[in-house]
Amino acid sequence: MNRFERIAVTAFAVTALCASGFTIAQAQDAPQGDAANGKRIYLADGCFTCHGRSGQGGAYNGPAPILAHTALPFDGFKGELRDPANDMPAYSDAVLSDKDIADIYAFVELLPGPRSSKDISILNN
């Protein structure tokens, strides 16, 4: 599968997962990560620069995906770090170990996802 095909597949997967309300269970074989260390790396290594400190997403050359309460399975998450499909830089093992990635994954899994906008009056102007 070439890079552009992977973009499409990933986009479809993310869309489908989003449509299900972020309630899909995470992959059972995701390694146990240390969320506290994941937060440290997320902030120190610049993940927040594109994806936001709350994992709310942002923009680099184009939109940077929401990571809060991610619905991506661990393997997909790791794949996007090791060999990204878009302008996101690839993070080799020399920069981020598998353990680091597992820790980051544990952190973003715990970040609160979206809530109902109807609960926030100023979003309904």
């Binding site: 610049g46 594109c50 942002g58 809530r115």
Partner: protein, 569 residues
């Protein structure tokens, strides 16, 4: 010279005073009675950007005057932004043409044989008049050229002798009559062919950028889109299309990949819009359009290009290239489309429109949902910042005239529907645009009693904080929100990407990219310039009260700055 400027209806002359145009300066004050009204700026970059922002709201240029050579050199980047943004600005620079008239010292350093040379590659036209009659004719010509689409800045050199010496034959001088050029419509045959292609298409899409140049532009585009019931993707170079119109699909760019006919109107970067490009070690690209999709272009941008600076972008294959002003050509195009629509097509178009409207609504709801993430976080999310501002200005006659890099929340969440509610971005991407250009737009809005609001980055702010002194001195009301992420954040991200690409540590990329240690207190800077300052606001709960206080100040006719410490994007 003053009479000529006034004959053109130029309302303001933005300046940083200088000896090389002291003759004109004095004449404007005493002969003209300060008309055009002088706007005192503390840097030439501010003066030109102020003129750029003004023109995009008011629809006509003001003038700017600067010192010979060195003042013009200060003005150049702003002139480049205006050039890339296709905005008319009349720039004038002093000069002493005759060598034997130059005094020793600075007058030599501030004179040039061909002073317009340094800006010629990013101005539409320039001249160095050698007589007052020559000046009159060249000024009218310059104004006409600047305001004829594709618009752009022009430059006139002001010889000191002409400004300062007695006029030998005042009765013999004449100011030419200005007859504005009527922008050209596209060829009628080509318009008919475009209409046929659009009507026969299954999924036509309109994309646009610097389209609307008068209040009629948006209405004309709405008429065409509603006639076709097709999606519109707006690159927001101007206030082209209402943000909450059901056919606005600007945040559904995937639509381009489903289009069989694309109508691209007054595009700045067509190739970049219809292709996907990867900023990787191997820079690859591919069409974002589907195979066989037809592209129609309509616009005048390519009718005036220059060679050196590459703002024209990559060459894009198209199928029908119509030379004609986008706004002027829309009515005949829409009429041609209407003539081709029969009952069966209308039903199909209506069905298409309903699907797009549903998708638009879903997009808006998704944006609201996305905005909730990190709602109570500190630093404050940009979504919350924009939502809080809108909550307090939505019932005003507001006009947003500045934004930070990639801050899309206003267009995702706010109801833009009036022609003056947005005026685009810098054009050339030259940092320092936002604060002074926003003030220029606020100056234009002032006489219409509109509420001007702008977002600007902290990095941009620091290039020209002196703009706020001009705001205070001339009592120009504006609510200016500093999106303070304490970094040149786009560069911060690029540096992280470089470190990852090189397989080296990514944890030191704040070196040279951040504005911290010490943190800059923008509210204090603002107060030092004579305007109201709030902040730094770090707790989202404090934002609404701070905005309320600042808005109350703006309503008294002054500028207020609110420093909001935000998450990066």
């Amino acid at each position: 010279m003053t009479d000529v400027l006034n004959s053109l209806g130029i309302e303001y002359l933005a300046i940083n005073c200088a000896s090389s145009y002291r003759g004109l300066h004095e004449a404007v004050i005493n002969h003209g009675g300060n008309k055009p009204e002088i706007i005192t700026c503390v840097h030439e970059d501010i003066a030109v950007h102020l003129a750029q922002g003004y023109a995009k709201i008011e629809g006509k240029p003001i003038a700017m005057a600067c010192h010979g050579v060195v003042g013009l050199q200060h003005a150049t980047m702003a002139m480049y932004n205006a050039w890339c943004d296709r905005v008319p600005v009349l720039v004038m620079g002093g000069n002493i043409m005759e060598a034997d008239k130059r005094g020793p010292g600075a007058e030599w350093a501030h004179s040039a044989v061909d002073i317009g040379e340094i800006v010629r590659e990013f101005t539409k036209w320039d001249d160095q008049p050698a007589s007052l009659q020559h000046f009159a004719e060249s000024a009218v010509r310059a104004y006409k050229i600047a305001t004829t689409p594709p618009m752009g800045p022009v430059f006139l050199a002001l010889d000191a002798e002409l400004q300062e010496n007695p006029i030998p034959d005042p009765e013999g001088l004449r100011i030419p009559k200005l007859a504005p050029v009527i922008p050209p419509q596209g060829d009628s045959g080509a318009i008919a062919e475009a209409a046929r292609m659009l009507v026969e298409a299954q999924n036509p899409v309109i994309i646009c950028d610097r389209l609307a140049r008068t209040p009629a532009g948006m209405a004309n585009l709405v008429d065409l889109a509603e006639t076709l019931q097709c999606g519109v993707i707006d690159n927001v170079g101007r206030m082209n299309f209402p943000s909450r119109h059901p056919l606005n699909q600007s945040f559904r760019r995937g639509l381009i990949g489903h289009a069989d006919v694309i109508l691209a109107i007054e595009m700045n970067d067509l190739w970049g819009t219809v292709n996907a490009f990867s900023d990787r070690i191997v820079r690859r690209s591919r069409p974002a359009t589907k195979s066989g999709a037809k592209i129609i272009t309509l616009g005048v941008r390519d009718l005036y290009l220059k060679s050196n600076y590459q703002d024209f972008g990559r060459f894009q294959d198209v199928d029908l290239d119509i030379a004609g002003d986008g706004e002027a050509s829309l009515p005949p195009l829409t009429e041609a489309v209407k003539r081709l629509i029969d009952g069966g097509r209308k039903a199909a178009f209506d069905a298409r429109g309903k699907k797009l409207a549903a998708a638009h609504l879903a997009m808006v709801e998704q944006s609201k949902t996305d905005a909730t993430i990190g709602w109570d976080s500190s630093p404050i999310t940009t979504a919350r910042m924009c939502a809080e501002v809108y909550a307090q200005i939505k019932d005003e006659d507001w006009s947003v005239v500045g934004t930070t890099i990639r801050l899309s929340w206003p267009h995702r969440l706010w109801d833009f529907k009036r022609p003056y509610q947005w005026n685009g971005v810098s054009g050339g991407g030259g940092v320092s645009y936002n604060l002074p250009a926003s003030l220029g737009a606020a100056l234009a809005n002032k006489k219409h009693s509109r509420f001007t609001v702008a977002f600007g980055g902290d990095g941009d702010f620091m290039f020209n904080p002196g703009t706020l002194w001009t705001a205070a001195h001339h009592k120009i009301p504006m609510l200016y929100i500093v999106q303070n992420n304490r970094a040149y954040h786009q560069e911060y991200m690029y540096l992280v990407a470089m470190a990852a690409r090189h397989g080296r540590g990514v944890d030191k990329m704040d070196i040279g990219t951040t504005l911290k240690d010490p943190n800059i207190d923008y509210a204090t800077v603002a107060r030092g310039m004579g305007v109201y300052g709030e902040g730094p606001i770090t707790d989202p709960k404090d934002l609404a009260p701070a905005l309320a206080r600042a808005i109350a100040v703006v309503k008294t006719g002054e500028t207020a700055v609110v420093d909001v410490v935000t998450d990066p994007r």
